[in-house]
Amino acid sequence: MPIRENAYVVYELTKAEFKKRNESSLLGVLWYLLGPLLTFGVLYVVFTDRLGSGVERYSLYLFSGIVVWNFFGSATAHALSAVQMRAGIIKSLPVRRDIIILSVVLDLFVSHLFELAVLLLLVLASGALAWTAVFFPLILLLQFVFVLGVSKALAALFCVFGDLDQIWSVVMKAWWFATPIFYVLTPDGPGRRVSMWNPLFHAIDLSRDVLVYGTVPDIRSLAIFAVFALVAYAAGSRIFAAISPRFAEYV
């Protein structure tokens, strides 16, 4: 199948996903924004005088962390059950399976862009926007590749392991607290060493650097994140390719 045709299917499927989730109205996006905004409000009220007291621009620090995390969290959660939710399509139409997952991730990516727009507005309003923001698309691209890889693996594995959703929700909860979203790592503590192995730490830290603090991204962090993204994508695609031919039997 030529690339152009595939691109059109991806476009139509993504549009369908977006419409389904937002009940065919652009206002539906507001509901999507409400989640991260509420999380932000609660954490801000609770932590601004405690964990955040010594942090420069804590509100932006917190909001950028939540927004970057939210793309990962929501996209993987949706992708996890994507195959089961689309049993009808899987069992009756010869759609390429990877296109289905791609459209789910793309759908949440579009929603993520709305969140990012809010973040950018806030950054602009606080006068913190610097030229370093030009690095952000690269970070975003790496994050997309990472999320797509993890999503493919989860979508495929959930077909074989029916309790993966339970396991994943626990993993996500632990991961959320293990990532410096609402707290700050001490410069030389053990947390920093551990966080080197946390791809989400790199995604969030790099985004903060270029958007909130106007510093050039740390090349080492960028390299590590790039490796994480590529490994996740390669592994995810491998797992997906192994299981996806039998999707119609599992759903």
Binding site: G88, F161, G162, I167, A248
Partner: protein
Amino acid sequence: MTDAVVIAERVSKRFILREYDSLFARLAGFMRGEEMPQRMWALRDVSFTLKRGEVLGIVGRNGSGKTTLLQVLAGIHVPDGGCAQVRGKLVPLINVGAGLQPKLTMRDNIALAGSIFGLSHGEIREKFDAIVDFSELRAFLDVPVRKFSGGMTARLAFSVAAHLEPEVLFLDEVLQAGDATFREKSRRKMEELIAGNTTVILVSHQEDVLRRLCSRVIWLHEGRVLMDGNPQAVTDAYARNCRAQIAAWNAARFWRQKRRCVWIMRQRMRRVFHGQIH
């Protein structure tokens, strides 16, 4: 054999009936030493070749592998043996309405289905009116498909499929959907497609449809081809088999009832005789 468009060569498919579907169950089952997974052959060595414009009918009891065969040919299932091949643009209508998105409107569904079957944006816009007119559902264009009745859903699905200009068309019990008028309309459309050299595989329980449209009929039984040939002969044999089955049940029921009658009579007689003697 150059003009063969559908080729099935000793196609076999094995389904997993039971398996450990979670990590916990896998661990627990491993300790108990259960034999897993349990499998079953859904298709066994099914072979046939269809030329352009041929119409194949498939009959068989529920669970005999009719839908599975279509799914394997459509590439939805991978065969566990043999090979299946379809040349040309395939439009499979399996589980009517399952491919439709219930939350989306009819308009969005037509666009989505069109794109899935490889139509460009322009082509979809071109055919849109013909599809809507054929389905006679113009009044419901902006209604979510979940509010459609079963018959309306089937009408929409068939209308879309028929207008995608398929070279190969699979129909899984689609033609019995809808009211009598729409059924006749869709049969005419089918005849039109067949005349236009579309190759069709038709799964149906309606003998008259099979006889009218098909050039060949296959009878599947427990995943194997039991009979393959002339539509009249195969549908007759299948119908005879079904009637024989029903007759056997009736006979069994008759003997059961007769035995029961005799037993009841004996009981009564015994009671009567006992009364007389004592």
